[in-house]
């Protein structure tokens, strides 16, 4: 019963099989490692102090910026940029919407600050209702990116809505607000130092 096999010469696993096995195993681990690396890294790529890559937001038809129906970050060099991610289905966004608009009406005449609303996965109908409801006049567009070929929210790696990013005159991210603002003062407090 055992003779035929015990008599067989000691061969072990052929080298080529071993190589295949190891390549496969390490490849698999490599992929998981890359995925893990990405999962870990994406929460740190866009941090205060980082220069934000250029992107272009197509604006909703009700909005224009300097007569254009889209805005690129590079057009806004020299100005303080406030990027607000929101969605019409997001209850906390409604808390800050009026304050954001109020702050915008204060800063708009100075021409030093630009607010930009980015509508995160939303439907046009509801977005329109929302924007109208809060009388929002600063440029707003959908979360589509013409230059980066992926949603802007993806690049900023937002954790949810609302989230607000404050970019200084040199295009460097200075502050990230996760969650809604509870007053206009809070918004002013973040913009004021960037204007100095």
């Amino acid at each position: 019963m055992i003779e035929p096999t015990t008599a067989a010469p000691r061969r072990g696993v052929p080298l080529w099989v071993q190589i295949i096995v190891w390549v496969f195993l390490l490849g698999l681990l490599g992929i998981v490692a890359l995925g893990l690396n990405r999962a870990q890294k994406r929460s740190v790529t866009v941090q205060p102090g980082v220069e934000i890559e250029d992107f272009t937001v197509p604006l909703y038809d009700e909005y224009q910026y300097n007569g254009m129906n889209q805005v690129s970050l590079s057009d806004l060099r020299g100005k303080v940029v406030v990027i607000n991610f929101w969605a019409s289905w997001c209850k906390p966004c409604e808390q800050e919407a009026a304050d954001m608009q109020q702050a915008w009406t204060e800063y708009e005449p100075t021409g030093e600050v630009v607010f930009l609303g980015v509508d995160y996965v939303d439907t046009p109908t509801n977005a329109f209702i929302y924007l109208k409801k809060f009388g929002i006049t600063y440029p707003n567009g959908e979360d589509l990116n013409v230059t980066l070929k992926r949603p802007i929210s993806d690049y900023f790696n937002i954790q949810g809505v609302p989230e607000t990013y404050f970019i200084d005159r040199n295009g460097v991210l200075q502050y990230v607000q996760v969650g809604p603002f509870s007053s206009v003062e809070q918004i002013r407090a973040q913009i004021a130092p960037l204007l100095e």
Binding site: M1, P4, Y60, D61, E62, S88, V121, P124, P151
Partner: protein, 169 residues
């Protein structure tokens, strides 16, 4: 409704008009408002863009309710199922589809793995089955096939019982 969206609608106005002509033939043409079932039939094939692995038709969040409304509006505008899906992919990414767009890549790997496995198993059978025959042939019948030389321990309790029964008879 945003004009942005209307623009797109205008592009397909002709199609919509055609669809309206055949209104009786198509479910989604301008006529009676689309039913929940028609909306769900499409939502079923989509995933909620913001929640983790939740099909759109069963997703209870407010956001999902709005997307289902969007499907309803598009259906009412005479959009086809494919157009609606296309819209969702363009705006929210390919992850809203319940299947990867590249069907070939998704099925090729498991099919290939199965074929490789089946091939290896087949080769294994060939290898395992051959030596017995070869040995028997070489040794000119002196070495009996293993199965005949030694009874293979069967756990077959029934067979033993049946043997006993036969003996008793």
């Amino acid at each position: 409704m945003s004009k942005n969206f209307l623009h797109k609608a205008q592009n397909t106005l002709l199609i919509a008009a055609l669809l309206a002509l055949f209104g009786t033939l198509t479910v989604s043409a301008q006529g009676p408002a689309p039913t929940d079932d028609e909306v769900n039939a499409i939502a079923k094939q989509l995933f909620c863009p913001v929640c983790e692995s939740t099909p759109l038709d069963v997703c209870p969040t407010e956001a999902c309710r709005q997307w289902r409304e969007l499907i309803r509006e598009m259906l009412a505008d005479g959009k086809s199922e494919a157009e609606i899906k296309q819209y969702f992919v363009e705006h929210f990414g390919a992850q809203v589809l319940n299947e990867p767009p590249n069907k070939f890549a998704s099925y090729a790997v498991p099919v290939a793995a199965f074929l490789i496995g089946a091939f290896l198993l087949f080769r294994g059978f060939q290898m395992w089955l051959k030596p017995v025959k070869a040995d028997t042939a070489l040794e000119g019948g002196s070495g009996l096939p293993e199965s005949e030389a030694k009874p293979i321990p069967q756990d077959d309790y029934i067979a033993r019982l049946e043997e006993e029964v036969k003996k008793q008879k």
